[in-house]
Symmetry: C2
Subunit: 469 residues, 2 copies
């Protein structure tokens, strides 16, 4: 380890030999060294996450170029930080000092869409929304829909095993990755998985790479599973006088055997923030707003049954959308939540605690108490059907005391999540933001085995070092 | 390695010290040493797979007892072969000489079924059908349904990532395993995964264990995802004058955006074998019989649409089941297939090649040619919607020449599957049967990384040695 560190310092000072070697296998326009430019690649969208200064940013267009980058990195012992669109929320794509930032954004080809096999083969830099629209033209559906779907890349989605609103019915990114081509730390190319519907030949290395935050290899191609495009979804909004009542409705809906295509919760703080930002006319008198949808053949009937369960749980108002346009408006309000909460005090820390949905009410009550204890505004927006909450701490980053309280409340929310049998991260990943928390969740044996797996794929610790653990 | 081998030989000769140490932490009735009894634990259901002689069979009832077994095995360097119901078809549960057979069948408690969280927590020895019925009483559904579901265990299903008829709509076992408790080779206990709907804290070690055939650790508890129980499925039978026409229908159905709850194919050989065995009255004039089902709210409408596509592909006859009883009869015929084929000539080798469904027709044609070339009867039964075929070579094991031809044709079918972009195993696993084929599928880099992962979890190579690679 000390040898690697020593080499790194050297390279930070004299990036010359590194850049020269990179240029042996990359065109000049794919190698960025202007410090003003490279600095703009230092961060993803997480708050409170340290980032170093990259030595160089590379933008390869081919698998061979990625292999050249990794061979060079291994030869010179230079760390590599793979990046997509840097929309991540855990600092997993943040640069480390003297690193090569390996941006995959220019490898953005959709190589194949096959409606019989229901697969797409893509390069990692394809934007999620681009793929979603492209497969839509074939009557197909790629479900994963993180909030950043208009800009985030499939490679980044694979790196963090991204979720979204669709997960309550359709699951997360991991469930749509059938096979990968991966460039290993030493530059060798490995294929994992399959393009068949099923396959059990050997260990499932595909799933090992999904969610590994670029720490085991560089994904250069992915075979993704697709589904038939479902009917357009119809949304219902239900208002509740308390978070507890809304969570009770969620439990009744899931225990009742319903499978909505989304089931989202916005608390009063979030609703007000969205109204303030976009004049959406959402009902501000409600303590908790539940949005549910069905994309079934008879969504009206399904929403009626779901609405009845909301009323049984004490909903003060149940309003089904009239049509697709009204549904889209409600979803738009939901998607604005995090941005709207950021406007409240200038800065947010977005948590990502997921609990068994039977414990959701306890988590939401607990967050309210934590907000009071630390005298903070914490808006809660949640993929309620999954028990996956984003308690969002709103604070003034210029105020050191408020920043400290924000940080402490953020941690206390994770502790509560673990206490309730949950996880510190449902879909945003560990990155640098939650490193010290990973060990608390998976325990010392878990950390030991995870580190040993990392060692197998990256013996020199060059791939996104300092992330995860 | 030589040291381990040496110790093993010693133990084979004098099982005494091993048995004594095992009895320090296990009750006498959990330690079987009678050679007649232990010999009955030597094999799973695969043909042509060598099996060794176990030194001892242990039947623990608790996690602590499993830990004791593994600590003992590590201390004495004795190999351990974990076993469920031994219904596997690849020899993955076959004993090695001098091993401890670790049968998990007595750890068969269903610890929890939670309809709100939609999870079950189970011990590994729970029989698949027992779990399925138990969750059914709560209005829930555990989809994985291998043919052996009435006897096979959840632990075995996890070990081989088992599939079944349901997979075309509901996927394989892997998609239902949320979290595991695993006893490692050295006896330490590790928890992986979660009981939440989502979670991305660290590498996905859960999925690494699923399908690892007992070679990385011993699963002692599993948290499984459940679904709401769907409506009862209604089945349709369609007859075709050729395998190619039936496969064309499969492609039209999938490209048409349908999601049947099963889509199975039986060829003429299989249909005849089932009729011979059970007088089912299936139409023997057909070259290929397709069974399709829907478990939707309006299965009649869905089957009508599907039937039209079958006719467009040239179906000579399309017969929807009148009711649930008739549906069940057709499924019963399908489930009898492998047993019926075994009766044809006494012995079968059941292949498990899965290809992209767009290549299914080519595979089925190819198998017919291989059968001709080797002058053999090869019945094909397939999870057609998944492209997952079970070409079943029927032969007389007493006839050395026919046995040789059976073996060669079996291999040639796998080669054809790989050529068509498929996998050597869709759901049965590698075991010892397909060891030499794994490398052909995943390549030298893949094998190297898989071996290195094995080394992390099992540095002494004690867990199910000689399987997979």
């Amino acid at each position: 380890m000390s040898r690697i560190e020593a080499r790194r310092d050297e390279d930070t000072v004299t990036a010359g030999p590194l850049v020269g070697r990179l240029l042996d296998g990359l065109p000049p326009e794919a190698v960025l060294t202007d410090p003003d430019v490279t600095a703009s690649y230092a961060n993803d969208m997480a708050s409170f996450c340290p980032a170093g200064t990259p030595a160089v940013v590379v933008l390869p267009r081919t698998v061979e170029q990625v292999q050249h980058v990794m061979r060079t990195a291994t030869a010179l012992c230079v760390p590599v930080v793979p990046q997509g669109a840097r929309t991540g929320l855990s600092g997993a794509a943040n640069a480390t000092d003297g690193c090569i930032v390996l941006s995959l954004t220019r490898m953005d080809a959709i190589l194949e869409i096959n409606p019989v096999d229901r697969v797409a083969v893509v390069e990692p830099g394809v934007v999620n929304a681009t793929l979603s629209r492209a497969v839509g033209e074939h009557g197909l559906y790629y479900p994963p829909d993180p909030s950043s779907w208009e800009t985030c890349t499939i490679g980044g989605n694979i790196g963090t095993a991204s979720g979204g609103l669709c997960c309550v019915k359709y699951g997360v990114t991991a469930e749509y990755v059938l096979g990968l081509d991966v460039v290993l730390a030493d530059g060798r190319l490995m294929s994992t998985g399959r393009r068949t519907a099923k396959g059990v030949a050997g260990y499932d290395l595909t799933r090992l790479f999904v969610g590994s935050e670029g720490s085991l290899g560089v994904v250069v191609r992915a075979t993704l599973a697709l589904r038939p495009k479902p009917p357009e979804q119809l949304v219902l909004a239900a208002e509740f006088a308390s978070g507890a009542a809304a969570c009770d409705a969620v439990c009744r809906i899931m225990a009742g055997g319903h499978t909505p295509s989304l089931l989202e919760l916005m608390d009063r703080t979030t609703v007000k923030a969205v109204n303030d930002m976009a004049r959406m006319g959402l009902p501000e008198s409600t303590e908790a707003l539940l949005l549910a949808a069905f994309d079934t053949t008879d969504p009206v009937a399904d929403l009626t049954a779901l609405g009845a369960l909301c009323e049984a749980a004490g909903a003060t108002q149940v309003v089904p959308a009239e049509d697709a346009a009204e549904s889209e408006l409600l979803l738009h309000a939901r998607r604005l939540s995090l941005v709207a909460l950021e406007a409240v005090k200038g800065t947010t820390m977005i948590d990502d605690v997921c609990v068994p949905r039977s414990r959701l009410g306890e988590l939401i009550d607990g967050v309210e108490q934590i907000a009071e204890k630390y005298r903070l505004t914490i808006g809660v927006v949640a993929h309620a059907g999954d028990g996956n909450t984003h308690p969002t701490v709103c604070f003034d980053a210029q105020d050191p005391d408020e920043s400290r309280r924000a940080r402490e409340s953020f941690d206390e929310i994770m502790a509560l999540g673990l206490e309730l049998g949950g996880t510190i991260t449902g879909e945003h990943g560990v990155g640098v933001l939650k490193k010290k928390w990973l060990a608390r969740e998976i325990g010392p044996v878990g950390v030991e085995m995870q580190r040993a797996v990392k060692q197998v794929f990256d013996p020199l610790n060059l791939l996104n070092p300092g992330k995860l653990f």
